[in-house]
């Protein structure tokens, strides 16, 4: 049974968002990491890249498959978790601790279309 952290917002494509003022901290859910298996590579955008809600901004690679990362919100990348370059397995170990990018949101209204923990839990039942 995968864990779902309270207090985060979720997309149906299994990204989570933690809102910190105008910044969205983005990662993937525990369900996503467990479906992927051992993650071997995280393809991340560069700082100052623009991301668009609904479009892919990178990908996770496991031994067997790759899975696109879909931006839950639009905006500019202001930070990326470079520790994942050498230790992508941090996502397997702690999906909610291992954030991937931080995005300065251009439209906070987009958050309203995301799911809370309870609603996300229903999508993966």
């Amino acid at each position: 049974m995968s864990k779902i952290a309270e207090g985060l917002l979720y997309s149906e494509s299994h990204e989570w968002v933690k809102v910190d003022g105008d910044v969205a901290i983005i990662g993937v859910s525990d369900f996503a990491q467990s479906e992927m298996g051992d993650i071997t590579y995280v393809d991340m955008p560069d700082i100052d890249d623009d991301v668009t809600a609904g479009d892919d901004f990178g990908a996770l690679e496991s031994v067997k498959t790759s899975s696109e990362l879909i931006a839950p919100v639009s905006g500019k990348v202001v930070a990326r978790n470079d520790a994942l370059e050498d230790q992508p397995e941090q996502i397997n170990e702690d999906a909610y601790g291992a954030w991937i990018i931080k995005v300065e949101m251009s439209d906070k209204g987009e958050l309203e279309s995301l799911l809370n923990a309870a609603a996300y839990a229903k999508t993966i039942e």
Partner: protein, 367 residues
């Protein structure tokens, strides 16, 4: 579950062990248990066991068995000694591949065992029957009566000879087998595998296969799924039918010409292969090593620096044993020479690589 999927004799034991199951070759098969990396490393450094009961066992016998098998098979079985095994292919007349397979020469005169890929059992059997006109042979598909496990890794000999009680297997060299009898039933133990490591494949009744599997698991031998089977065979440079060999990919294109004996009097596909060897092939299977960690996957385009597409990835991984991103790709022959720089398109970007030998990993077979 899809009801049309077949199950091996070990299916319930995989479910019991918590395996992730998925369809492969018409069977509901275990993809992984503890994880692909863990299982892969167990085989490289210790020992693991795979359920390969989905593979097909087709027995050929009769006065014309030798000439018949030599007619449909690319390698040369003439004068093969009992207990020997040869790898090769069955081809269409145009040189495309029907399947790749093993031929076991049994101790009875004029008896052979052909081991074929699960997904191709029905196709191969039909093909064999169609080619048998005029030959006095019996072609007997006994795939459903045989279970098969592969015990692979540096500690495989200890597990098979000691734990499973086949001391005679210690004498086997690579690509030989022995016939054993256990509880009145025939058991075939061969020193073969699909991992690049030393190991054995054991063919037995479903009941005995279950007993061997349970004994190995109880003794701590790592259960391994098709996920690690693929990463292991790939690193060792071994092709998978459907990816590196197909009806459109001949053994010459795949770099497997050494298993096709053009000096044989004849075999199906011989003339096409001779023509390919003489005049060259349009595309060749190569290995590519990437500088970056991005992972090349089957279907990704292979390009020149200017963006011209010259081929396609057939299998790729971030290699577990070599810790770099590598792939097999089918590319235009002009771009196939060792050392050629090539680029692979992975999502929105291209990543530079270089053509290398397909055997990425130094294999450890028992000679």
């Amino acid at each position: 579950m899809d009801n049309s999927l077949k199950q091996t004799c070990l299916h319930d034991l995989h479910v019991e062990l918590g395996a992730k199951m998925s369809p492969f070759g018409g069977f509901d098969m275990p993809i992984q248990y503890s994880g692909i990396i863990d299982e892969h490393n167990a085989v490289r450094h210790d020992v693991g066991v795979f359920d390969v009961s989905h593979m097909g066992e087709i027995f050929i016998s009769g006065p014309d068995a030798e000439t018949y098998v030599n007619h449909i098979f690319t390698n040369d079985i003439r004068g093969m000694e009992p207990g020997k095994i040869l790898y090769g292919m069955m081809l269409y007349p145009d040189g495309g591949t029907v399947d790749d397979l093993l031929v076991y020469k049994e101790s009875h005169p004029d008896h052979y065992l052909l081991v074929v890929n699960a997904a191709n059992i029905d196709k191969d059997y039909t093909w064999m029957m169609e080619q048998a006109a005029g030959y006095q042979v019996v072609i007997d598909n006994r795939s459903e009566q045989w279970g098969q496990i592969a015990v692979q890794g540096p500690q495989a000999e200890k597990a098979v000879c000691g734990l499973l009680g086949f001391p005679e297997a210690a004498q086997l060299s690579f690509y030989t087998f022995c016939d054993c009898t256990r509880e009145g039933q025939r058991v075939i133990v061969s020193r073969t595998g699909y991992t690049g490591e030393d190991g054995f494949e054991i063919y037995a009744t479903p009941e005995q296969t279950r007993a061997y599997w349970k004994a190995l698991i109880a003794a701590g031998v790592k259960p391994c799924g098709l996920g690690s089977r693929d990463t292991l065979r790939f690193e060792a440079g071994l092709p998978l039918y459907g990816d590196e060999l197909t009806a459109e990919i001949s053994p010459v294109m795949a770099g497997l010409g050494m298993f096709c004996k053009l000096d044989k009097p004849e075999f199906i596909g011989r003339d096409a292969l001779a023509e390919q060897k003489a005049n060259g092939v349009p595309r060749k299977l190569i290995g590519i090593e990437l500088a970056d960690k991005a992972v090349p996957r089957a279907g990704y385009p292979v390009e020149l620096e200017d963006g011209t597409e010259v081929g396609v990835v057939t299998t790729g991984y971030h290699s577990i044993s070599l810790e770099k991103s590598i792939c097999f790709a089918l590319v235009d022959s002009a771009s196939a020479a060792l050392g050629t720089p090539l680029w692979i398109r992975i999502r929105k970007r291209t990543f530079p690589g270089i053509v290398v030998k397909k055997r990425f990993y130094q294999t450890n077979y028992k000679k």
